[in-house]
Symmetry: C2
Subunit: 166 residues, 2 copies
């Protein structure tokens, strides 16, 4: 993985043995967003999805002074307009007691490097409008908010009902 | 592909020979969104991305009375909270003279069926806030707008600059 300029920090690709740690950090992120009730992922599901026969996402881990204190989970999306894949950042998380040291920024730099290496045209993600520190952080990186777009979701019963109408 | 209840309509998986038709429909969609200036995809790029060694997206085509009049392009995303993949709908398009017949709805039903078959928890997409017909269409399907989230994007120079800071 790539070097960082933060003393004590190492960014590395996650391996199967990290699954429990990743699930722990996912749960902390959900608690931070007041969405802990939405977390139903099990360690087995996560291991299969990340390290099984058909991986659906990739993870980089931030190790600070030897401890796993943050992660970025991402996968490829695709822009029909560019005709090129992009990188979609699903989760970016750094433990509260390790913030302000440049760790989140180092994780994003790593993703930008991966995007360039893989000839991706874009790096995209979504942010909760109530997450003011995140909004300020992303603005400093010159990320552009796509305010004129709204995310839609079909899940649960509504998805089942639509699928049953074929 | 799955049957539909619209007379004259057939929904089928796209094959490599459809690439030129798909690029034509992508360009029409961009024109409809007043974003034609953003389309730089070439037929070669699209063929490689959709039908090459590492496909980044899948396409279903709507054939109405033997003519390709619409498409849906999608790929898998991943929810860490659910520990399951989802389906992300990048583009949904039906030619203006073929609207109002249930073709767009049939494309979405097909995606919902694929989502269920592949054990996906969600079907997601983004909509331009100015696209009133689309907003009404999706509300009728009981899709939920995630109004409290904003999409962010890093591309071009901003992405290059971040990648160079590692």
């Amino acid at each position: 993985m790539d070097s960082t300029t933060v003393p004590g920090l190492r960014i590395r690709e996650a391996v199967k043995q990290d699954t429990a740690v990743i699930l722990g950090l996912i749960t902390e992120l959900a608690e931070y967003e007041n969405l802990a009730h939405e977390v139903t992922a099990t360690q087995g599901q996560l291991e299969e999805a990340l390290f099984g026969a058909r991986p659906f996402a990739e993870v980089v881990i931030a190790e600070y002074e030897g401890e796993s204190v943050g992660y970025a989970l991402y996968f490829h999306n695709f822009s029909t307009f560019l005709g090129r894949p992009g990188i979609y950042l699903e989760d970016l998380y750094v433990r509260p007691d390790c913030r302000g040291k440049g760790i989140g920024r180092a994780l994003l730099v790593t993703l930008a490097e991966i995007a360039k290496k893989r000839n991706c045209g874009r790096l995209e993600w979504i942010v909760l409008d109530s997450n003011q520190p995140a909004l300020e952080f992303y603005s400093r990186l010159k990320a552009i908010p796509l305010d004129e777009w709204t995310v839609f979701r079909l899940s649960g019963t509504a998805l089942d009902e639509l699928a049953a109408k074929g």
